[in-house]
């Protein structure tokens, strides 16, 4: 197990390193730079050149990369070309929106998918079971933006229960307001991610129903449902954990779109704006952290899966 964790950890670090090089190079392929943007559409070539020089954009690429990676190892992701603030500081600030948003989205997704997925498997072939599974298919295909808008119209515009957009200026010093601001965006991501997960839970449950040990338990006098819940669900849980990595990646992508739509000052919205502005140190930092986070979740999922699944434990 230890050896497995070490190998898997080494793989994680290698993945991060490859990602860092890819991120760096891909961004350098983007046409345009920050100096042109600052000078704008009435800027003179002299102005652009002067800004470029003052921002240190004339250093060779390898030096810029070495600089960046060297900083990363010291926990310093560089500074924004626009605001001069540390990328780490900015990220920490924006994470206060994005991390709770992600966690809340995941909770909503699980709350939707696990009970409904199990029910739709148990009720397979009946009207309500079929409705659930068809409904999930349909929901999973809904554009995230449209779903968000619909929720806003119902809960913010008609009912006035929740804010339509934005985040309180005081942030988490106004915990109730901050949480309220995140409910609709998290619900939007949660419903759509949950619909995808529901189909997965349903098929995992169906698989479990067919397993020998569930049939054996049922033969020993438990009802089919009781047998499934006692003996089958742990396995369904394992399967869900194994796709959590994918779910988290989906939530990260969802957050980028949703933060735009709800004007939330999080990492996702910042990422889009920083790409537009060609604030490359910021974009590098944001992408590295997001990639690292997704890779880390994958790593943890694999480790947890191995710890929980007796078959895999024996295999190592």
């Amino acid at each position: 197990m230890i050896r497995y964790a070490l190998t898997r950890g080494a793989l994680l670090l290698l993945g991060l390193f490859v990602a860092s090089a890819l991120i760096f190079l891909t961004l350098r392929v983007l046409p345009g730079d920050v100096a042109q943007q600052i000078a704008g559409t009435n800027g003179t070539p002299e102005q652009v050149a002067a800004i470029r020089e003052s921002l240190g954009l004339n250093a060779p690429l390898w030096a810029q990369y070495a600089d960046w990676i060297g900083g990363v190892f010291r926990g310093d992701l560089g500074t924004s070309l626009y605001t001069g603030t540390g990328v780490t500081t900015e990220l920490a600030e924006k994470a206060r929106v994005t991390v709770p948003l992600g966690i809340l989205s995941l909770l909503f997704a699980l709350a939707v998918s696990i009970p409904l997925g199990v029910v739709s498997a148990l009720r397979r072939g009946r009207a309500d079971g079929t409705t659930l599974s068809v409904g999930a298919q349909a929901l999973a295909a809904v554009p995230v933006v449209w779903a968000g808008m619909m929720l806003v119209v119902v809960f913010a515009v008609w009912l006035g229960w929740l804010p339509a957009q934005g985040f309180p200026r005081g942030g988490w010093s106004q915990p109730a307001d901050a949480l309220r601001a995140l409910i609709l965006p998290a619900l939007t991501i949660g419903i759509i991610e949950g619909a995808m997960l529901l189909r997965f839970v349903r098929s995992a449950t169906l698989q479990a129903i067919g397993q020998d040990y569930v049939r054996t338990a049922a033969a020993k006098g438990l009802t089919r449902n009781a047998a499934l819940i006692r003996h089958g669900l742990p396995n369904v849980g394992l399967s869900v954990i194994s796709v959590l990595g994918l779910q988290v990646a989906g939530i990260v992508v969802g957050a980028v779109i949703i933060e735009q739509l709800f004007s939330l000052p999080g990492i996702g919205r910042m990422l889009v704006e920083d790409v537009d502005r060609r604030d490359l140190p910021m974009v590098q930092g944001e992408l590295l952290i997001l990639t690292g986070f997704v890779l880390l979740v994958g790593f943890l999922v694999d480790i947890v899966h191995r710890l929980l699944d007796p078959r895999q434990r024996e295999a190592s």
Binding site: P31, Q37, P45, T83, W146, G160, P163, D276
Partner: protein, 502 residues
């Protein structure tokens, strides 16, 4: 890519919202009708579209910064009204010598910066001199004609090497911003000006908050606080308005008028604007180097249909929009006539022409679609290449690597670009350059304007580009809000007169 998905979804949403709107009653949306007196401590929330990358008034160009900071937080010696009059600001008055070479400004007394420091004549001299001498500062080149800047008591004198009829106007913009000499404020994330509002907080990615400057040297602002909320999506902005979270929507999509007016508490206000949607044509290479081909493109385009599709604004047939000096109606230079366009192309010996239009993706698809079908009508195949703004700036603006380009030029009085052969318009006409130069050197305003008009007509007749339409400034304003500027809000947003009654 993201924006395109968002646009499609928004369209889908708007359709559903209209269906739903038929069967709803709104709970408690929007601001209530004003009943009483303006509340001097009110907080007004204003939706803006584009957030600035930083707050550096010295270096970072762009209207996103001008809108929020000029007039409200920072001031110059002179300012401009929404109908483009030049008016006193930090200078109580000024005089221009008959030969147009000496400008004498009298500085207001008792002006202080937001941090309490006093404004001195030396600060004015330092600000203008540093602007002129620092190439990376915005509009630095606009002070090129100024040969000396001196102060004597409360009098500041600018001496010019040659007359410059655009100098005063330039001083109402970035070139004229007055800062505290040797100030230690972090300009990128904070501000220290002399205006009626103090920069309270910038919540990056969300909002900028200004509060009333109680130590202001002039008349105090009429509200306690202004919060600029950055909401990119039009539909999301309307939702925020319906939920009562904003009081004013700038950059309002006129096609959503019905949706917001259902609410009863909102008025859609149309103002004039100097925004010009320019269809630039790269005339450095065949076949666009042939005036007949460019003229054919102009006459193939149905400008009335564009205005109708956009939902506001007016047609424009030359480089100068109606609010600017030198404007005249040039619709005779390119009447809509596909027949004539086809004949011109034939005469030029061009057939099966294929052109690429490079357009920043945030302008949406409405106008490109009209252009594709209009040009198709006369036998030109148009391919639309929607790119992100950074790509546009690099490929089109900097490298002039394009055939047709579409972008909005919001700046007032920017005819100079047609007299600059190095500008991305690729228009190089010595006669126009000479007329523009004469207009700059003219000491008589009427003469300067007449010269500009003459130059503008030549540019239009050359079909140097096409002007798809002249925007209207469209805002939606909640009941109870007064003093919100309506004209030219894309360039400036002076909020000193703003009030809110509750």
């Amino acid at each position: 890519m993201l924006r395109r998905t968002a646009l499609a979804a928004t369209a889908l949403f708007a359709a559903s919202a209209l269906v739903l709107a038929g069967c709803t009653s709104t709970a408690d949306p929007g601001p209530t009708g004003a009943t009483g007196e303006p509340n001097p401590d009110a907080s007004v929330a204003i939706r803006l579209v584009l957030e600035p990358g930083n707050l550096d008034i010295r270096q970072t160009t762009g209207a996103a910064l001008d809108q929020v900071l000029i007039d409200n937080v920072y001031q110059g010696l002179v300012s401009r009204t929404t109908d483009q009059e030049i008016v006193p600001a930090l200078a109580s008055d000024w005089e221009v010598s008959d030969d147009g070479l000496t400008y004498t400004f009298t500085l207001e007394e008792g002006v202080t910066f937001h941090d309490g420091q006093e404004l001195t004549a030396q600060d004015v001299v330092w600000s203008l001199q540093t602007r002129k001498d620092t190439p990376e500062w915005a509009d630095s080149a606009r002070l090129a004609n100024v040969s000396s800047i001196t102060a004597d008591g409360q009098t500041v004198t600018l001496t010019l090497a040659q007359p410059d009829s655009s100098l005063l106007w330039n001083l109402t913009g970035r070139a004229g911003i007055i800062l505290k000499e040797g100030d230690t404020v972090d300009y990128q994330t904070a501000a220290n000006g002399t205006g009626p509002f103090v920069l309270e907080e910038w919540q990056q990615g969300a909002s900028i908050t200004l509060t009333r400057n109680d130590a202001y040297w002039g008349d105090a602002a009429g509200v306690g606080e202004v919060v600029f909320q950055y909401i990119a999506e039009d539909q999301a902005a309307v939702n925020a308005a319906a939920a009562g979270e904003v009081d004013v929507l700038t950059g309002f999509d006129p096609n959503l008028t019905e949706q917001i007016e259902q609410n009863g508490d909102w008025t859609v206000v149309l103002g004039t604007a100097t925004d010009k949607s320019v269809l630039a044509m790269n005339s450095t290479a065949a076949p666009l180097d042939d005036q007949r081909v460019r003229q054919a493109i102009r006459q193939a385009i149905d400008h009335d249909a564009i205005v109708e599709a956009v939902g506001a604004g007016q047609t424009l047939y030359g480089p100068i929009p109606e609010p600017d000096p030198g404007y005249e109606d040039l619709s005779d230079t390119a009447p809509y006539d596909p027949e004539a366009a086809r004949a011109l192309l034939e005469e030029a010996g061009v057939d099966d022409l294929e052109l690429t239009l490079t357009i920043p993706s945030f302008y949406g698809t409405t106008i490109p679609q009209i252009l594709v079908s209009n040009l198709n009508e006369v036998g030109i195949t148009l391919e639309v290449d929607a790119v992100d703004f950074g790509v546009w700036v690099n490929d089109v603006y900097t490298n002039k690597d394009y055939e047709l380009s579409y972008v909005n030029h919001a700046e007032p009085r920017d005819f100079e670009n047609w007299a600059n052969p190095d500008y991305y318009f690729t228009y190089d006409n010595p006669e126009v350059q000479d007329l523009y130069e004469q207009s700059l050197r003219a000491t008589d305003e009427a003469e300067a304007d007449a010269l500009l008009a003459e130059a503008a007509r030549i540019v239009a007749e050359d079909a140097a580009a096409d002007w798809l339409y002249n925007w209207a400034g469209v805002s939606a304003v909640a009941t109870g809000i007064d003093g919100m500027p309506a004209d030219n809000v894309n360039a400036r947003l002076d909020l000193s007169e703003l009030t809110k009654s509750e």
